[in-house]
């Protein structure tokens, strides 16, 4: 364990040194970069008789720029585009230079804390979701039920001439219900595989997509995170169920009935899943133990997903969005701080998971 901690610490120190060097190099170039395009653009705003919200004024400015640039429309359009981008920036970003102030640092730390809070919540929820989905799939497969669409067709096959009206009605209702279930399953799959920005833009007109609650919802449901990692957990369940100890347990007469009478659906939904007296309890515990090391991978994937959500949805005041904006306006000091903080989050998760696995392994040592 000590070795792992040393490895992680060295890695953090190494990255910190690299970032510090970059930070110093950037500071040295500060003077050169002070005459950046932002300040040039700021000059444009000193022309106080132009109202940039007035279409007539912007058209006249465009014409003037065309004349100034010898009818080179591309240059004038580019300048207007930059002015537009500049105007969309929060005033704090417009006025400050390339250096980093305490105020900015506090701002970014608050955003980071918000990011970590969302990350921890989504990680917890997805960890629960991954296990629940995998367990449901495993138990359903053990029940050996045919796929829903096949059930629809086999139900309809039973519609023969001789049967009563009531029986036919029952069959038709069962077929329709199975068909609806199949359609819902497909829709559920499509949602789970949708990138966050597709879901967010679909719902943008109806919900407040900038809220933290919506971000948590997106983090859990989108980007195929749940489905990818529930598949991994499911693979562990399958490989455990094929091991010798399961057969031994069966010989010793442990419960092996996977119907919902024996394993209640409510137990599958429990936060801490427990199946006393059932062979599945041992399969589940061992699969869960194997999955612990995958949490690191899941966490990294989740962080990528959350950053995508923040960046793609332009959620103001969030770390991902600010990182993107600072990159766009070449405020590299802020970019370095933000990237380093995200790196620390990944490392902290790795250290936590390693310590947790170490503790769990100790429990099972003789």
């Amino acid at each position: 364990m000590k070795r792992k901690i040393i490895e992680h610490s060295l890695s953090i120190i190494f990255i910190a040194i690299i970032f510090s060097i970059l930070f110093v190099l950037l500071s040295q170039n500060k003077k050169k970069s002070q005459i950046n395009e932002s300040s040039v653009l700021a000059e444009e705003f000193k022309i106080d008789f132009i109202d940039f919200d007035n279409p007539l004024h912007t058209s006249i400015l465009k014409e003037t720029l065309n004349i100034f640039y010898n009818n080179n429309a591309a240059d004038s359009l580019l300048l207007l585009y930059e002015i537009d981008l500049w105007r969309e920036l929060p005033s704090s970003m417009q006025l400050s230079g390339n250096e980093i102030s305490i105020e900015k640092l506090i701002q970014i730390l608050i955003m980071f804390l918000k990011f970590v809070l969302v990350y921890i919540l989504v990680l917890g929820l997805t960890y629960y979701g991954v296990q629940t989905l995998a367990v449901f799939r495993f138990v359903s497969n053990k029940q050996n039920k045919p796929p829903l669409l096949i059930r629809v067709f086999s139900n309809l096959k039973n519609l023969k001439k001789g049967i009563s009206f009531l029986e036919s009605l029952k069959i038709i209702i069962a077929s329709i219900s199975n068909f609806i279930k199949a359609v819902l399953k497909i829709v559920f799959y499509l949602i789970l595989f949708s990138p966050a920005y597709v879901i967010a833009y679909s719902l943008k007109t109806k919900f407040d997509t900038d809220s933290i609650v919506f971000m948590i919802f997106l983090g859990v449901i989108s980007n195929a995170l749940l489905i990818t990692y529930s598949q991994k957990f499911y693979t562990f369940l399958i490989s455990e169920s094929n091991k010798g100890y399961v057969e031994t347990a069966l010989v010793k007469n442990l419960n092996n009935d996977y119907s919902f009478k024996s394993i209640l659906p409510s137990t599958l939904l429990q936060l801490k899943k427990n199946f006393p007296g059932h062979v599945f309890n041992h399969i589940f515990i061992n699969a869960q133990h194997q999955y612990y090391s995958t949490i690191k991978e899941q966490a990294a994937y989740l962080i990528t997903g959350l950053i995508i959500i923040e960046m793609a949805l332009n959620i103001h005041g969030h770390l991902g969005y600010e990182l993107m904006q600072n990159l766009l306006y070449q405020k590299y000091h802020m970019v370095l701080v933000a990237v380093f903080l995200i790196y620390l989050t990944v490392k902290a998760t790795e250290i936590f998971v390693d310590i947790f696995i170490f503790g769990e392994n100790k429990k099972y040592q003789n």
Binding site: S194, I308, A312, N314, L327
Partner: protein
């Protein structure tokens, strides 16, 4: 229906991976026919270019990842054999640093470098830009392939297989490349490549979507090759996606999605449907491999 035809059909239906591959192609072709009939020509051409570019780049990422994964796994194998463990420790340490950088951040930084090169007019050929974009993604994707290669070598080293072949006079490199990777791990590798192709499409679309904001005030997403991600980020596509939300509250509007909002719906569907099919193909292939 004659018996052999029945047998062939039954065999195909038992191979879910083939069914899902067929479904994927069928879905894409049906969509294309629909678009030919109802989508305007300029948009259709853009979507076609975006699909080709996206799939080509993802394929390049997969090829690069396999190559780097293979080379790096061999390096790990030979470094482990050295008595001095410092090079091995240093190598793994460096690899772990790449692993700890969230993919999206790493790729974004490399894209930023590409933007800089474009701004300096050092690169302006669209194919070179595409290749560099693929390289940027592959740097953060090849580790998965490398891990798989190392795992396969370790698995066979634990058994007598490796030593027995060594005793027979077979060279180590031949054992690894021919006996382990080619003869005994093709299925595992192929399964991983399919999954990697899917995750690359997801990453690429996400990055390109984000790029719509721009990575420089001088270079916008217009300067990058057309892909599904940046086509989806365009305002008309976004409005098409917004129409889905409108349909949830006004179900009667549903039919209009397939005629009036075709561009955005088509792109979103291609991304989601492709990810779903690739996931299903990969899983079904693995299940068949294990059975």
């Amino acid at each position: 229906m004659n018996k052999s035809l029945k047998k062939t059909i039954r065999r195909i239906f038992q191979r879910k991976d083939i069914i899902w591959t067929g479904l994927w192609f069928f879905g894409l072709i049906t969509l294309w026919i629909w678009d030919v009939l109802f989508l305007n020509k300029p948009d259709l051409l853009q979507i076609q270019t975006a699909i080709i570019n996206t799939f080509l780049m993802s394929l390049s990422v997969v090829i690069l990842s396999v190559f780097w994964g293979w080379v790096f796994s061999l390096i790990v194998f030979f470094l482990r054999k050295l008595q001095n463990q410092i090079p091995y420790t240093f190598f793994i340490f460096s690899i772990n640093i790449i692993r700890s950088i969230p993919q999206i951040i790493g790729i974004l930084m490399l894209y930023f470098l590409i933007t800089f090169l474009m701004f300096q007019n050092i690169i302006n050929n669209i194919y070179i830009i595409m290749l560099l974009m693929a390289v940027s993604i592959a740097i953060f994707q090849f580790l998965e392939i490398m891990d798989l290669f190392i795992e396969r070598i370790d698995y066979y080293r634990k058994t007598d297989f490796f030593n027995a072949l060594l005793v027979c006079g077979v060279k180590e490199l031949t054992i690894i490349n021919k006996e382990i990777f080619f003869k005994n791990s093709r299925g595992h590798i192929l399964n991983k490549l399919i999954a990697l192709f899917g995750s690359t499409i997801f990453l690429q679309c996400s990055i390109d979507f984000i790029l719509s904001i721009g990575l420089s005030t001088k270079i916008s997403s217009v300067n990058f090759p057309l892909t599904l991600g940046n086509l989806l980020a365009r305002i008309d596509s976004k409005q098409d996606i917004l129409a889905i939300g409108h349909t949830i509250m006004n179900p009667t509007y549903f039919g209009n999605l397939f005629f009036e909002h075709l561009q955005g719906i088509t792109i979103a569907f291609i991304i989601v449907f492709t990810l779903l099919c690739i996931y299903k193909i990969s899983n079904a292939f693995m299940e068949r491999l294990e059975s």
